[in-house]
């Protein structure tokens, strides 16, 4: 291992910061120290790759197919650093040579193909940030280049790869496109459908490398080090990256979890964990959370809603509270009919404003009935949409009331409920918070 001081001098040399005599001295040392020479070559390789990557952002094909420098580098005089050849500039130089000779190789056409490696289609109200090789894409283009990082905080995105691979990514997710054939899933839940021509498509997480062998599969990457692969059709090869390699071929109906101990553990495949079709709205992506009496729900989160209590015990179900952040649905299912009281709940002042369109949400009684509405201040309107579905709207827009409405005094009573769904459409901005309380069990 070489000293940091030596490596520092190597970078100074590559940066053009050493005098001729200093360079000569360094090279004499490199000649005598093979390890230092190795590091020098690796640093030069890193330098070339960084230049290539950094400059590939500066060049884009214009409409006529010519290479155009669109932005950056306002001042290129007086450089000490070497000018570099960006990927496309390189292609242009090769193209020039070939054009002169009247030849056009198929590979060159491939290099000039304007089709993005990956295009994506977010559901309405999906929130994401896109960074192309370190720079935020302020134009919010819906395509990924090699190196693009996509962070999804809410909603669902469908990715379409040039190779024909289709993927649905569910928030929260953080991914990087390595190249047209490899996706790095740092966190998130993703479903993939890979056509035959794209066999070899690879998904990498911190804990798993998954190579497709012609299939349909799902990957879950969690921050806690648990990574899962679920195969629904065909085969994949799953392995643990790193020294303690474990590799296994998985067929349809098989799943593995790579845990923090480095083991690939057999788990039950779950197609329900993945969305396989791009939803038309965020609300539709909300997987209902079913709270069955006799079961426990521990810190479970769905899309578009969060349970504000970490633990809702339904063994002796009395009450619960939850928030729909943007659009989502929560379903309460009881093993026996109960009487329920539903009211709005507090939303902290530091959260986003909610219900600015006065539309609070909707509740649908799958089995049971709406027995009474208590609204002494006449602040809410319950509008029947059908016999079992009701729209819940505020009638008095007031910022204070919107955040902390006098909901304690307004509530609805429901009778003989077996199943109730509370939902909020994503098209209505803000959040909605509900409380429910079991008044009595109808069991005699």
């Amino acid at each position: 291992m070489i000293s940091e001081q030596m490596e520092q001098r190597i970078y100074q040399c590559l940066d053009g910061e050493l005098s001729e005599s200093e360079k000569e001295l360094l090279f004499h040392e490199l000649e005598k120290e093979p390890e230092a020479l190795k590091v020098y070559c690796r640093c030069a390789a890193l330098d070339a790759n960084l230049q290539r990557l950094a400059h590939s952002q500066l060049h884009l094909d214009d409409d006529t197919g010519n290479i155009a420098v669109l932005k950056k580098s306002p001042n290129t005089v007086g450089t000490k650093k070497p000018k570099v050849v960006a990927t496309l500039a390189l292609v242009a130089s090769v193209a020039a040579i070939i054009t002169i000779l009247g030849l056009l190789a198929p590979q060159l056409w491939q290099a000039q193909d304007h089709t993005p490696l990956v295009s994506f289609d977010p559901t309405p109200d999906t929130q994401y940030t896109l960074v192309h090789d370190g720079e935020t894409d302020l134009l919010k283009e819906t395509c990924l280049q090699a190196g693009s990082q996509l962070k999804l905080s809410q909603g669902t995105i469908e990715l379409t790869f040039k190779s024909g691979v289709r993927s649905i990514i569910t928030a929260p997710a953080d991914l990087v496109l390595d190249d047209g054939n490899t996706l790095i899933l740092n966190t998130g839940t993703a479903w993939f459908q890979v056509p035959e021509r794209a066999i070899g498509f690879t998904v990498r997480t911190e804990g798993l490398d998954i190579v497709d062998l012609g299939t349909e599969f799902g990957v879950i990457a969690k921050l806690d080090g648990h990574h899962e692969v679920h195969v629904f059709k065909g085969e994949v090869k799953a392995s643990r990256p790193g020294a303690q390699k474990q590799s296994v071929k998985l067929g349809a109906g098989q799943a593995r979890r790579s845990d923090s101990t480095g083991q690939l553990v057999v788990i039950k495949p779950s197609s329900k964990s993945f969305i396989t079709k791009r939803p038309t709205s965020l609300a539709a992506t909300g997987k209902p959370l079913n709270i069955n009496k006799g079961t426990q729900v521990t810190g479970e989160e769905g899309i578009g809603y969060t349970l504000s209590k970490n633990k809702v015990s339904t063994d002796d179900l009395k009450d619960g509270e939850f928030t729909i952040n943007s659009g989502g649905k929560l379903a309460l299912t009881f093993n026996e009919p109960v009487d329920l009281k539903i009211s709005t709940a507090d939303i902290p002042y530091n959260s986003a404003p909610w219900n600015s369109n006065e539309d609070f949400g909707k509740f649908t009684i799958v089995e049971g009935e709406l027995s009474e509405v208590y609204d002494p201040n006449q602040e809410i309107l319950i509008e029947p949409l059908s016999e079992t579905s009701f729209k819940w709207t505020f009638t008095k827009p007031n910022d204070d009331k919107y955040r902390t409405p006098s909901m304690q005094s307004c509530r609805i009573d429901l009778k003989g409920i077996r199943k109730l769904e509370l939902s909020k459409d994503a098209s209505s901005p803000g959040q909605a918070a509900f409380k429910f309380q079991v008044i009595s069990s109808n069991r005699k």
């Binding site: 940091e4 020479l37 030069a44 590979q107 060159l108 190196g147």
Partner: protein, 191 residues
């Protein structure tokens, strides 16, 4: 009778195919050639010119290249020759480039310690390692490499002192190099 092997169309197709394969090699090894020229002319603003010259010679000599032989070694020998020729034209004397023994060792290093497989993987590994940097670190490194400027000039742009930027860039590049090497080492073990 099948005349296809002798027809002009077939010959053209064959040539186009060979040229296509050659362009693939040339494109695949661009970053290697660039890295090798960078190691021969560290900190020189004319690396691009030498690379362009090398590319032109490589293209003109494409028919001399024997398929399935070591393209990289061949490209490096041309790159070294072109670097020397360019320095001679510029009437510059560069101790390193004219030290055949050391440049031989460098070429060997690029062949041995950074084999093709690793070079192909280096860019994806670099991308992955870049995502592990903080936003500020990414901003610094991209600004430096995009601006084509000296550290002193770049320091003024990013509003840092020259010393602070030098240290920051050094730390970032050390961490990137180590990250890439550990990533590639992992892949080597698993492959």
């Amino acid at each position: 009778m099948d005349n296809s092997s002798t027809s002009p169309i077939s010959q053209d197709a064959h040539e186009n195919e060979a040229d296509g394969a050659y362009v693939t090699l040339l494109t695949q090894h661009q970053v290697n050639i660039q890295a090798f020229i960078t190691s021969l002319l560290p900190g020189d603003p004319d690396i691009e010119d030498v690379l362009q010259r090398t590319n032109i010679v490589l293209w003109n000599k494409r028919e001399q290249f024997e398929q399935n032989t070591n393209f990289k070694a061949w490209a490096f020998s041309i790159a070294r020759w072109e670097t020397k020729a360019w320095l001679t034209e510029k009437k510059r004397k560069d101790w390193l480039v004219f030290n055949d023994e050391l440049t031989d060792q460098m070429a060997e290093q690029f062949q041995e310690s950074i084999p093709d497989q690793k070079n192909e993987d280096m860019l994806p590994s670099l991308r992955r390692c870049l995502t592990r940097l903080s936003d500020n670190e990414r901003f610094l490194i991209f600004n430096y490499y995009q601006a084509d400027k000296s550290i002193a000039e770049c320091a003024a742009i990013v509003k840092k002192t020259e010393g602070a930027l030098r240290v920051a860039l050094f730390r970032i590049r050390i961490s990137l190099r180590r990250c890439i090497e550990s990533h590639l080492a992992g892949k080597e073990v698993t492959s």
